[in-house]
Symmetry: C2
């Protein structure tokens, strides 16, 4: 129940252990086609360029920037946590110019500030933001941000690492041009792959580049020779077993239905929230800007956070996350992602916290909420 990797369902682990077949085996190619269409469902898109990058979320992030940013490209980057800062570094390593829009850690991206930057930088060609900041638990209004970017004729890159499968992600409806995610959050598949989706406009931008993509491994024009339509050409050896696992995880999501999954994440979050508040915790992000799947709360001042977290792991077999950057030692990040987002985990977490902190009342507060909403 940390910020990811999340708990993996046994059928996904079983899929992972299926015998490894060849990356050009007709049976594997069929499975690739299914993975593509299941990812299109998860992202709510018809984008043809939708596929898993053969590396973790950071490789998906870099695939977006390396393909879309050329030397000299101005990119507006919204920074309200660790991952906006990472975007800046990637833009600059691609030779681009990053214009930063800063918001406090724990707050959503402010659309007014974003619009001001778009107005002040008519030379900007790309607008990038984090939908669900894993370092702070803050949710930004992706729909509104993408609308503003379009109005100012920018392509939009959206980090959907922690959002995909946990809260609404509507790539086509919102007009997102490039989105990337990770398998180890709300998809509840082990870490190691990064699903991405590029709009036709983004794909055209790659095709019309003046300079080659600086990464051969991440060049989507080359990768799509393998993941695209028609005859598959070898580019790199696909991570066969991880793709089995992703396929199974996506099938599970498809069977539950996106709306049901989003609703489940919300209900479990509310139950946990009532419990945490009863135990005296307060959230880093204000109401309305909180991610249901990642509950970032201030550690009470009288608690030795590292030792309490160690005790949760050692004595209760429960992992929760610490803070990153300036928040190290100050916040806890409790994940309710994908398969882990269920009542039994809400109870387990609160019971363990009550024991370790010597407090009470959390479990019952959550239970009351669960009884109301699960009826």
């Amino acid at each position: 129940m940390g910020p990811g990797p999340s708990d993996v369902h046994p059928t996904v682990l079983a899929a992972l252990a299926r015998p490894t077949i060849g990356h050009l085996d007709p049976k594997f190619v069929e499975l690739m086609d299914e993975v593509k269409s299941l990812l299109q469902y998860a992202f709510q898109t018809a984008n043809r360029l939708t596929m898993p990058v053969s590396g973790p979320g950071t490789a998906g992030m870099e695939s977006c920037f390396a393909n879309l940013v050329e030397p000299g490209t101005t990119v507006i980057v919204c920074r309200n946590g660790v991952f906006g800062e990472r975007m800046r570094q990637m833009v600059e390593r691609c030779g681009g110019i990053a214009v930063m829009v800063d918001d406090a850690w724990g707050r959503a991206v402010d659309p007014n500030k974003a619009e001001a930057a778009l107005k002040n930088h008519p030379e900007a060609e790309i607008f990038a933001f984090i939908h669900a900041e894993t370092s702070t638990g803050a949710l930004s209004d992706a729909n509104e941000l993408a609308r503003l970017a379009q109005k100012h004729d920018c392509l939009t890159i959206m980090d959907a690492v922690t959002s995909l499968g946990g809260i609404p992600v509507r790539v086509d409806e919102w007009g997102i041009d490039a989105a990337y995610s990770g398998t180890q959050k709300c998809l509840s598949v082990p870490p190691g792959l990064s699903p991405i989706s590029f709009s036709e406009r983004a794909t055209a931008r790659v095709t019309n580049r003046k300079t080659p993509v600086q990464s051969w491994f991440m060049d989507v024009a080359l990768v799509m020779g393998y993941w695209g339509e028609g005859k598959r050409a070898y580019h790199h050896t696909a991570p066969i077993n991880m793709i089995y696992a992703l396929h199974e995880g996506l099938l599970r999501l498809n069977k539950e239905g996106l709306e049901s999954a989003w609703e489940r994440h919300w209900k479990m979050h509310e139950a946990l929230k009532f419990g945490l508040e009863a135990l005296g915790f307060t959230y880093l992000a204000p109401e309305g800007e909180r991610l249901p799947q990642l509950n970032a709360v201030w550690v009470p001042e009288d608690v030795d956070e590292a030792s309490a977290r160690g005790q949760l792991l050692a004595e209760h077999n429960l992992e929760i996350g610490g803070g990153l950057g300036d928040l190290a030692g100050k916040v806890w990040r409790i994940g309710l992602m994908g398969y882990a987002s269920r009542a039994e985990n809400v109870r387990k977490c609160l019971a363990a916290l009550e024991t370790v902190l010597g407090r009470s009342g959390g479990l019952i507060a959550a239970e009351n909420h669960l009884n109301k909403t699960l009826m």
Copy 2:
């Protein structure tokens, strides 16, 4: 029995399906330390910078070039198949200047040509070659090539994707500065990770770069914040389950012993070779330049290769590889890698070929050899 992914042992598949724990969990950190020391054994090195890149072999290749090549760096690249050409493209995408040393596909790299290039290009700082060319089955003399590179004061980058675990790889003894491999060849672990090892000289070159590494994801200085010694800092979420599998695969190699594994690969190759020759096949690479783990043979002129290969897969559950590039339609690549390198597979392959091609005498030739050498 294609050019990889190779067959995976059941205990490795079982390790893959172990429950996913956190990338900073103390138990996982212990496992990382074991993986590092098992990789040091496999590479025969004491290099501290030895770890698995979180992506397939191509990501490992790019990690070497992106970290060691700066804009303007001259790199001598030996090209005797698909992967030397890939190296050239990576050098150029890093802003480097590639000086090519060409040898025919199917031949080893000629040390005389390599030395001539080193002499003619005193400005060269890096020398790169493929130890085991997966596209042709050719083996080059890594020890001799690395010696020449050192003599001319170049750092050596060696592709050990198909060699590691199948034939001798001695990073320290040969003086290799950067080596990368893949998990899906002679380590018999599913594809998705790329073990790399950098010498102190290579590590110092990264530290002393004038320009930042163009890839944030692959920047070894950042990655080593997580994989290095001391306290682990989050860089990207490690592919937990794939690392379980790599750990198990390396434990198996360690238990068998490198020398025994190399000997087994050689014996199985010889048995297959006698069988293939009895069936009328000839090798692409001349004797003395052949990889035991990858047998590339000319397809007889009267055989419809795609249909025969399809029949092997559909009717005999046997995958072998076709040719790449100019060799497409002309050669077959039969792998005897890692766990797949055993007598039962030599027999299975030859029996299937006899049935599909309507020929005979291969199985018995191999059996005679097996009887002799396995006594």
